[in-house]
């Protein structure tokens, strides 16, 4: 990596740069102060650039080419201008899918964040044994391979002998004997939402809980002694400190849920997937990759990137601006 010559120089300069800095006399130190942040980000940038640089270039390039299986084998696409983009943008399925995915994303992100935060706050209040048990349980949930999680969820909801139908019928909530939860798109996507929220909550809980430990105890004490209600304590003391983490979690959740593929594809099942229950991730896979139309797939990928960027722009802007450094 390019930064391999840097450390000795960095070490030298750092030694020579006592705080507060004396800019004029120490040109070495000055250069180092200027270069330091770049040196700090260089390893990350280098790694990502080395691995993702070409794929990104390739993606943009073939999005304007006819690039199918034949072209893949020949390693050469056939330029078609914006044809891939316009065919996607003129596809009514794309727009329907987009709308469905936006609604789906909002529901999933909202549920994940609210439930995750509530459980994190709960963790603070329970005794330490319950806390360790609960967090371990959550980590187990998190660490379940998706294939396995999907199968277990399918077992719970299948219409022949699912536990869900069994329990609903036993609880006299109606006759759910042989109720097919996979019959309508709404029902299918609700199951997918439950699966995704269930799988994503542990991550939010662990992160928010870790962030909660940054809330100074004195502040909470002071607020409690003042007799503030729990909601006000959360709103005025806890939330402002957690805000950066909330912003990050929310925007990441938007990004992940918008592009989610594996869970819906496996839970709804390839044999049940059709245009009435497409989500963007599935649209991309079915229209781009299953059909070996890689150029079109690249165009869809880029459009998806734009869409999710628009969807999360508010959060991202806030985040970029948050807490400007001194």
């Amino acid at each position: 990596m390019s930064s391999s010559h840097v450390p000795s120089q960095a070490a030298l300069a750092a030694e020579a740069a006592p705080w507060p800095r004396r800019r004029r006399r120490l040109t070495w130190a000055h250069a180092f102060r200027f270069a330091l942040p770049y040196l700090l980000i260089a390893p990350v940038l280098g790694t990502i650039g080395a691995i993702l640089g070409y794929p990104l270039y390739h993606l943009v390039k073939i999005s304007r080419e006819r690039y199918g299986l034949f072209e893949l084998i020949q390693h050469k696409g056939y330029p078609v201008g914006w044809a891939n983009f316009s065919s996607v943008l003129h596809d009514s399925i794309f727009w329907h899918t987009l709308l469905r995915t936006v609604v789906f994303t909002v529901a999933n992100v909202g549920l994940t964040m609210v439930l995750g935060t509530l459980i994190a706050l709960l963790l603070v209040r329970v005794s330490s044994i319950v806390r360790v048990a609960l967090t371990t349980g959550l980590v187990l949930v998190w660490s379940m391979p998706i294939v396995v999680a999907v199968q277990v969820w399918y077992w719970m909801t299948n219409y022949e002998n699912g536990v869900l139908n069994y329990a609903l019928t036993k609880l006299h909530l109606g006759d759910y004997y042989q109720h097919d939860w996979y019959a309508t798109p709404l029902s299918q996507l609700s199951l997918v939402t439950a699966l995704i929220v269930w799988g994503a909550v542990p991550f939010v809980v662990v992160t928010v809980y870790a962030a909660l430990s940054q809330v100074p105890a004195e502040l909470l004490e002071a607020a409690e002694i003042d007799g503030a209600r729990p909601w006000r304590v959360f709103k005025d003391v806890t939330f402002p400190i957690l805000k950066p983490i909330f912003l990050i979690l929310t925007s990441l959740s938007i990004i992940w849920d918008f592009g989610v593929f594996t869970q819906p594809f496996l839970l709804i099942g390839q044999t049940h997937i059709n245009t009435s229950n497409y989500l963007m991730g599935i649209y991309l896979f079915e229209e781009g990759y299953l059909k070996s139309d890689f150029g079109r797939g690249a165009a869809i990928s880029i459009l998806m990137l734009l869409m999710v960027a628009i969807l999360s722009v508010v959060y991202v802007r806030k985040m970029v601006r948050m807490e400007e450094v001194r």
């Binding site: 709960l122 609960l134 371990t136 294939v147 450094v325």
Partner: protein
């Protein structure tokens, strides 16, 4: 991490606040019990699928799909575990996963922490661009990257090597880690850093010495994320690694469902239970660190 050691007995930052007002002892205890019950209820609901996975792993084949669900098998069997372990390359693939994930997480944490310091505590040209780049990368659907990424790694001769998978995982873990760590660094009050800077040490040195313990919960939360994400990653490992003894645990698991014949669900559930064990061990090792942090620093300051 001297700050830690001083305050180690305090499990959470918030607990002192809770412990302080002793005035309503009995009411407090009742409330604590109520919260515990809520906690247990949440645990039961959330962990039910996990329970189902483990209980299925112990069921004889006939009970796995029985019409009336069997909660616990009265005749538990360990046959599925035995079969799973005896499938080809189990130990090889677990070892590979440990190497890949261990190296990828350790390297990612170091690199991400450095970059996060730059983002949180320095102002420099291109900073915003870097932040946007980090999030932009995560917006890319992975499906489109699989083939070109294979092409790149083939050019570096990194196909069918663990190091190829390690750098691939790093590229997907790093953006998230940089971001989250930046969030945790920003959350630290300035006074604490300034206190450290007065003593004349260099800026970076002060940051690292003071920030590292303060940001420990963030590092732990991030590394759990990195660990689980890499541990469960499947498609890139599948595409990049070819030989049975060079593959990862998730690829090993995929052979259960990859057949055109019937799937051995008992074996898959047993295999998944076994594969989850390292994750739980890792979590139990690091989880205590989540709860420490600012209290320690705050008391010291």
């Amino acid at each position: 991490m001297t700050a830690d050691a001083q305050i180690a007995p305090t499990p959470t930052a918030v607990e002192p606040a809770r412990a302080a007002p002793r005035r309503r002892g009995r009411g407090r205890r009742a409330r604590q019990t109520a919260w515990n019950l809520v906690g247990i209820a949440v645990l039961v609901l959330m962990a039910f699928p996990v329970f189902w996975m483990i209980s299925t792993a112990f069921k004889p084949d006939d009970q796995i799909n029985s019409l009336n669900p069997t909660w616990f098998s009265l005749h538990p069997t360990i046959a599925h575990f035995r079969d799973a372990i005896h499938r080809p390359f189990f130990w090889d693939d677990i070892k590979n996963s440990l190497i890949i994930v261990g190296v990828a997480v350790a390297l990612s944490m170091v690199l991400a922490f450095l970059a996060a310091i730059a983002l949180a505590k320095f102002r420099f040209t291109g900073r915003k661009l870097f932040i946007v780049l980090m999030i932009g990368i995560q917006m890319l659907p992975q499906a489109g990257l699989i083939i070109p990424l294979y092409v790149v790694l083939a050019r570096y001769h990194q196909v069918n090597t663990l190091s190829g998978v390690i750098v691939t995982y790093m590229t997907f873990v790093l953006p998230f880690s940089v971001w989250t760590l930046r969030g945790f660094l920003i959350g630290i009050p300035r006074e604490l850093e300034e206190a450290a800077m007065v003593d004349g040490s260099s800026r970076l040195g002060a940051f690292v010495r003071i920030l590292l313990p303060l940001v420990a919960p963030g590092l732990v939360a991030t590394s759990i994320f990195a660990f689980i994400t890499s541990w469960n990653e499947y498609i890139f490992a599948r595409i990049l690694l070819s030989e049975g003894q060079k593959q990862t645990a998730t690829v090993w698991l995929s052979y259960f469902t990859g057949t055109s014949r019937h799937t051995d669900w008992g074996g898959l559930m047993a295999g998944s239970t076994l594969v989850a064990i390292p994750v739980v061990i890792f979590f139990l090792l690091v989880q205590r660190k989540i709860a420490f942090g600012l209290t320690a620093g705050a008391v010291k300051a």
